[in-house]
């Protein structure tokens, strides 16, 4: 009995390995459902994209990427210029991811003068600004660092939505964290802010399901897709550069 069982077991092990070895070598099928460990935002990673010529097609949806290594910044749905960004300018966050700090560094890089950086600005401060740049994306570590609970941050985001939707201020929604700032928690913030946007700036990797481009089309607002976060220098220079 013991011997038979051991032999059976060995066969099962060998068969399982042999089966997969014949079935596709060491490369798993690209159609394997995407699954990854949770990101800092608590959601799961979206599927990967594969390069097809200059543009590329996402393996999980019909979205066709507009940007590429050779065409790094693409603006659609109209134009957005320096005239659309009256001062004073506020840079803030909803979700408290590190992207807002990167946005701050980018603003400094392009020589933006005279803007206020306050990642936890209260809703009632919105009335003081002509242009509000909101870095969207949630991070549990960021929320912890800011000492804000997820619920309080959602309430703050809702209050900001209420404050800006009827105001004259220009709202720029910036999503700079790419795919890692998508997923359930981040998308709660993304979905709250997108209807308020007068202009959207997104690292295209984070738009592989068309969330941001669809919102731009639905709301009739311009959107700038950028290949990597460093390419935000181009639109930011045009809008806020010295």
């Amino acid at each position: 009995m013991k011997k038979k069982f051991a032999a059976l077991l060995a066969l099962a092990l060998v068969a399982s390995v042999a089966l997969t070895a014949c079935g596709g070598g060491s490369a798993p099928a690209a159609s394997t459902p995407a699954a990854g460990p949770t990101g800092t935002n608590g959601g799961t990673m979206p599927g990967t994209s594969q390069a097809v010529g200059d543009a590329s097609i996402n393996t999980n949806s019909d979205y066709t990427f507009r940007t590429s290594d050779s065409n790094r910044v693409v603006t659609e749905n109209g134009t957005f210029t320096k005239d659309n960004v009256p001062g004073p300018v506020l840079v803030t966050s909803v979700g408290q991811s590190a992207d807002v700090s990167m946005l701050d560094a980018l603003m400094k890089k392009v020589g933006a003068a005279d803007y206020t950086f306050n990642s936890t600005a209260a809703a009632d401060e919105m009335a003081n600004y002509g242009t509000i740049i909101i870095a969207c994306g949630a991070s549990s570590k960021g929320l912890g660092a800011a000492g804000i609970s997820q619920e309080d941050e959602l309430a703050r985001a809702q209050a900001i939505v209420d404050a800006v939707k009827d105001s004259d201020a220009t709202v720029i929604v910036a999503h700079l964290g790419g795919a890692s700032r998508r997923g359930a928690l981040s998308d709660q913030f993304n979905n709250m802010m997108l209807p308020c946007a007068d202009y959207i700036m997104v690292v295209e990797d984070g738009n592989d399901d068309g969330l941001f481009t669809d919102a731009a089309t639905d709301n009739g607002v311009p959107i700038t897709l950028i290949y990597s976060i460093a390419d935000a220098v181009t639109p930011l220079t045009e809008l806020f550069g010295a």
Partner: protein
């Protein structure tokens, strides 16, 4: 055919040949498999790696050795016999309750230490004579011990496979208590009642009484139980009051218990008893060393990565099938090995399907059942040894509870989203 597959087949082949054809002990067969694998992979005989793998379970080896000494001491001193007599005489009227209580006693050391071997060796050895006297035949008793120990190993608060799986994806060991209790307690109750109840529905105390030594308890009184009390108190106190009780460690606790046991009951030849205890333990220690070597060489030669990467090629249905078959089967090498080699990629592949903690808990539960798999079968072999049977006979009675537990684990995996409230 990829070189990794060839290496793996050679390792398994040499291991099986050594064990079955040349009748070598499991430990030496595993060592031979590891050496052959390294040779085929072009590593020569990597002594450093073979050594490193050999000593990876040093802590467990010390615990098992000292636990075995302790068990021998309380057996020889008469404490076990006395304890049996007390428990049976108190609970014989309600056999189902008695069985469930005894099952929880078997599980307890496993819950605390995370080791099925510790459970079998300590509580298992205490409970086994009671089960036998209740009329449960030896193979069935062995099956109850083996599965009970495994349920203890998988039960909260300490479940090492779950820690290994969680550690692989940066998931803290938090919130596992609920899902693990949900998996193990029904599994344990089902097993003990399914196997045992039919034999002891109508316990005839007068009949059993004949097999009990009621005198030894009377002769030495409460003093007999001091070693067991010392062990339990020290084990619990070290965990509950870490800042007051110095760090003793399980081996030292067992040695203290053994030393106390020399003076609390019947006199016996300690040196002879300990020598006998170690003699029966050495093969198991050897197995652990062999397992370490085997996994180390699997990692070194890329076999481990090869197995994992091929798991990702599965569709979801095949994946579930693989979880139910390959993961417990890997227990033939080591259930801890199954958790770290297979548990992590399976968890990665299933993350999208539901609650991560519940999935990890269910995977660890299925992994733990691998401790029944021969030839290593740590829990099983020791359980068989305690009841004086061949493991093959014991294993026969484990099959149905094993299948039920695996299916329950699968059910938990499939329903992990709805079971998220347990975390």
């Amino acid at each position: 055919m990829e070189i990794e597959l060839i290496v793996f087949l050679v390792m398994l082949g040499v291991f099986l040949l050594g064990n079955f054809l040349f009748k070598l002990p499991v430990s030496l067969s595993m060592a031979a498999g590891a050496v052959a694998g390294a040779l085929v992979a072009g590593e020569g005989i990597p002594l450093r790696h073979l050594f490193e793998g050999t000593f990876v379970y040093m802590d467990t080896i010390l615990i098992i050795s000292t636990a075995m000494v302790f068990m021998t001491v309380i057996q020889e001193s008469g404490a076990l016999e006395a304890l049996n007599a007390v428990i049976v005489s108190k609970f014989y009227k309600v056999p189902a309750v008695l069985l469930v209580l005894l099952m929880f006693i078997i599980m307890f050391p496993g819950m605390i230490t995370g080791s099925s071997t510790a459970a079998v060796l300590s509580a298992g050895a205490i409970v086994a004579p009671i089960l036998l006297q209740m009329g449960i035949p030896a193979p069935q008793t062995g099956a109850i011990l083996a599965i009970g120990a495994i349920m203890g190993m998988a039960a909260p608060p300490v479940n090492i496979p779950a820690m290994l799986i969680g550690g692989g994806v940066d998931m803290p060991y938090i919130g596992f208590e609920g899902p693990l209790a949900f998996l193990t307690i029904p599994g344990a109750i089902f097993t003990v009642l399914f196997i045992g109840l039919r034999y002891c529905k109508n316990l005839d105390y007068e009949k059993i009484k004949g097999g009990l030594d009621l005198e030894i308890g009377k002769k030495y009184g409460i003093k007999l139980y001091i070693p067991i009390v010392v062990i339990v108190v020290l084990m619990v106190a070290c965990r509950m009051l870490p800042n007051l009780i110095p760090n003793l460690g399980m081996p030292l606790i067992f040695m203290i218990g053994s030393a106390v046991g020399l003076f609390t009951g019947k006199r016996f030849n300690a040196v002879k008893a300990i020598r006998e205890a170690m003699k029966t333990t050495v093969p198991v220690l050897g197995k652990l060393m062999g397992v370490g070597m085997f996994i180390q060489i699997m990692t070194l030669t890329g076999v481990r990565g090869y197995i994992v990467i091929n798991c990702f090629g599965f569709g979801l249905v095949v994946l579930y099938a693989a979880i139910c078959i390959v993961m417990p089967a890997f227990g033939a090498v080591s259930s801890y090995g199954a958790a770290s080699v297979l548990g992590v990629p399976f968890l990665l592949a299933l993350l999208d399907t539901g609650d991560q903690v519940v999935i990890a808990a269910a995977l660890s539960f299925i992994c733990s059942l691998g401790d029944l798999m021969p030839p290593t079968a740590l829990a099983g072999n020791y359980a068989a040894q305690i009841v004086g049977e061949k493991y093959s006979k014991v294993l026969r009675y484990c099959v149905i509870p094993f299948i039920v537990c695996v299916l329950f684990g699968l059910f938990t995996l499939l329903k992990s989203r709805s079971l998220g409230f347990l975390t």
